[in-house]
Symmetry: C2
Subunit: 177 residues, 2 copies
């Protein structure tokens, strides 16, 4: 039995926004404490493949950052063709087909969905996400980009763990049943 999982690891405000208006991520700054990565590095060590939306990818690159997952197999989901770059594939095909192919692969490491909201919606709607690790940041943003859009099927969750941090962040880890 292959147990390769697709895991959503993401942060949101208590009111469910992954960014404020105009893609503002400044609500995350107070969470950046020295020596505290909220388990991110340990999590990233368990994955070797990353799926991310084209809009999120462009945002990262346009901010002047390097795309952080170039050591992994990366799939940027897009509706516009774009040449592949190194380990990054700009993928226009069927999402379900991609995830099923990746899951049937023999790798012992998992697949990381790194957002954004549109990709999360499509993956949840197709019931392809196996685990959710949601870091709830202690703020109400009031407006912005919602993590969870409407129009998905109901899915039961199993709480695997819940951990609170000095900064007030609470990390919830669920298995999608």
């Amino acid at each position: 039995m292959n147990s390769r999982k697709l895991i959503l690891y993401i942060s949101s405000s208590l009111d469910g926004f992954i960014a404020g208006p105009n893609d503002d991520l400044s609500f995350l700054h107070p969470m950046q404490l020295e020596g505290e990565d909220y388990g991110y590095e340990a999590f990233v060590d368990t994955v070797d493949t990353v799926i991310v939306g084209r809009r999120t990818y462009d945002w990262v690159v346009n901010q002047g950052y390097d795309f952080p997952h170039t050591d992994k197999e990366g799939y940027i989901l897009t509706s516009q063709p774009r040449p592949n770059q190194g380990s990054l594939t700009f993928y226009q095909g069927d999402l379900k087909e991609l995830v099923q192919r990746l899951k049937s692969n023999n790798s012992q490491k998992h697949i990381f969905c790194d957002g954004g909201a549109e990709v999360v919606h499509q993956l949840l709607a197709a019931q392809l996400i196996d685990e959710i690790i949601l870091s709830v940041v202690p703020v109400l943003l009031g407006a912005g980009t919602r993590l969870f859009k409407e129009g998905r099927p109901q899915q039961l969750l199993e709480l695997l763990s819940s951990k609170s941090f000095e900064s007030g962040l609470v990390q919830l880890h669920y298995r999608v049943k």
Copy 2:
């Protein structure tokens, strides 16, 4: 110094819905375990006044339940006049004025906002809520009534506690800064 607080105590799915489509609350049923009230009775002992929206009130009554807070001072927020009933006032006036009057009252007990989404939105938009106790139910509803509407100011929160339960429910308690 008077420290009478307005506290929102409410449940939602992980994706932020307080009810599924058609006011469906069946997602709460698996949370009803014998001998586990998630601190509800202890919380209710700390309040003597309840604010609730007219739509939520009617829903409770139309389901055939008695309104549960008749031992307390109750304010049903409504745009349509309706005769008061016992300790219940159908309130059409200014919400901020009501909450400020209640907070300046000498009672040692607090004020409970028991929903629904419209009242929560108005109270948060007016920055009148002092604490939030949110019970996150381990389910993605996919659609329904959102707890948090858009179009409010940003508000920082302080995590007071986080507690997980056998059922997978996680109760998050915040002070609004």
